[in-house]
Symmetry: C2
Subunit: 338 residues, 2 copies
């Protein structure tokens, strides 16, 4: 177990390193934080911290920098989430209140997060499986061609064109539309399959093929994978810390374009808790020198999707966590209102 002072030394190292982006030495530490001890003592503590793997030196005679393990301890035990100031909160609310539709909410959120944290922001569209159906609309495009439109409680709209196995009359169409809505409107997506299971049977034999096709298209639309779109912003912020990582920026950009990778990272926990994933804790190799701060957000108490930021492991964790939490809360409010 580390003594209280050694933890303070670790905290000071993290804070200074995040601020200066340079390895921090014992002398500088005692000057900038009044630890009440001399540099020599701090050196002893540093040696112990290094022994335990919390800090490391880039080369023999340089200052120390925190390791992933060091950041982990800092985040878990030493840091407190920094709340947003009142003006900041007002700015967030004002900015998000101007949104006109879901796309706009997401677009604004991503901009906001990127600006507040000065890092790369990632926002996942509200997931369908945890949402409810507001309405299903069926339109006839041609005798054997339909369009299915699905509207969710979060304001999202999905549409699919369906080629029917046989022509489908207007009366049958109206019938199907009405029955479908009466069964699933207001219900959760995940409950839909069993609610419509027996629907084809109640139609004329000629129409059953089309009804089945419509239903299976509907199911496909519900499948999470297709729906978990992401929006990314603030990639220009990557260049802020690229001067010592001119080579690191590429894998990060590549990873950011691999939506699958990001989704897995965001989706690891399904709760609303804030998650911080540091350096090598990220499964994806390209993100080994970045940290991801993410949190669930949603219109009720329940999370429907995640948002977060991707930045260097050397980031301002308290500030970033505060910004991410605040944005998630306000987005949740906006979604609940609309």
């Amino acid at each position: 177990m580390l003594s209280e002072r050694r933890l303070q030394v670790l905290r000071a190292i993290v804070q200074d390193y995040v601020g200066t982006e340079e390895p921090v030495g014992s002398k500088a530490l005692t000057e900038r934080h009044n630890l009440g001890v001399s540099p020599a003592t701090v050196r002893n503590d540093m040696a112990a911290l290094e022994e335990e793997g919390y800090i490391a030196q880039p080369h023999t005679s340089a200052g120390r920098i925190p390791t992933d393990k060091g950041y982990r301890l800092f985040v878990d035990k030493l840091a407190e989430i920094k709340p947003m100031s009142a003006p900041e909160r007002r700015a967030i609310q004002n900015f998000l209140d101007g949104a006109v539709d879901l796309d706009d909410v997401v677009a604004r959120t991503v901009r906001l997060l990127a600006q507040l944290t000065r890092q790369v922001a990632v926002v996942q569209y509200p997931s369908l499986t945890r949402s409810t159906v507001r309405h299903v609309e069926l339109l006839s495009l041609a005798p054997a061609r339909l369009m299915l439109v699905l509207i969710t409680d979060t304001g999202r709209v999905e549409q699919r064109v369906i080629d029917c196995p046989a022509p489908f009359g207007e009366t049958s169409l109206a019938d199907l539309r009405a029955r479908l809505n009466s069964r699933i409107a207001g219900r959760r997506f995940r409950d839909v399959p069993q609610l419509v299971e027996d629907l084809p049977e109640s139609f004329e034999v000629d129409d059953r093929g089309t009804v089945s096709t419509v239903l299976s298209t509907l199911m496909e639309t519900l499948v999470e994978e297709n729906e978990e779109r992401l929006v990314i912003g603030g990639t220009a912020n990557l260049t802020r810390f690229a001067h010592d990582f001119p080579l690191t920026i590429r894998p990060v950009l590549e990873a950011l374009e691999e939506q699958v990778v990001l989704l897995r990272l965001l989706g690891e926990t399904k709760s609303t808790d804030m998650t911080v994933s540091i350096g090598h804790e990220n499964a994806h190799e390209g993100l080994n020198s970045t940290s991801i701060v993410s949190v669930g957000y949603g219109s009720g108490g329940e999370a429907v999707a995640k948002l977060g930021v991707v930045g260097p492991t050397r980031m301002d964790y308290p500030g970033t966590m505060g910004a991410v939490r605040a944005v998630a809360r306000y987005v949740g409010q906006i979604l609940a209102e609309s």
Copy 2:
């Protein structure tokens, strides 16, 4: 006027510089291209080309590199668009054929363009004003709350929630829906305003307020500005040429996130012609060392939106132009089919 050989020298300089990314000297030129003259002669030609502003040297005693003016001449007079090979064309078609909806088409297009050109790809969503209405749907969410869904011939769907000034009955709703569709289905967006101008008058006094609100929301939805969304991909390719421009990558990323800027750049010409904008020809300062190759695409003969790539001025123009043109053609086909 420049002699034929001098133009050949310029062409050779552009080709070599694009290939090697290094200033090209007179000796190397005569070795790699059989110009039939000695290095000394080439030097004279180079001096003339430099005098005219087509090439420049980074410092005394280095090879020459093309200037923006040099690239301009190359693109206008010396280069021929390089057609895609048959296997490449097949690959493009296969890749795009797998798309399930408009979002998917756009997403795939952007990936494809980025891969083919190894540069940053930009694809604009089909613009509404040049599209036609396939269907308008009105749904009742609550007694005084409607949802308007607009479906375009390119498969795009837009929705808006409308708060009505007064409750609106189901019969009135069905009436409005039917009349609206009979008037504007199949018509161009730009013609819609005058087609529905007198619609409120034909409704009961109590309902007119709501009808007007619905119509004005519909108009808003048609306004181009809201609709010109862009999708960007392949930003990781920026790092390929960042080694000598570690400082240039940031303004480019910033410009790419400023959709307004990009839209203006793409939108300068409204035709289907291929446009190449080189270096300082770009109004936006951050893009002064990049070139933009763009072209209109659309489901018939008419362009409904643009797509293109952003890369260093030192790019393979013939190849890039070939890829952009080919992709635009195939996307147009896909849109026409669906």
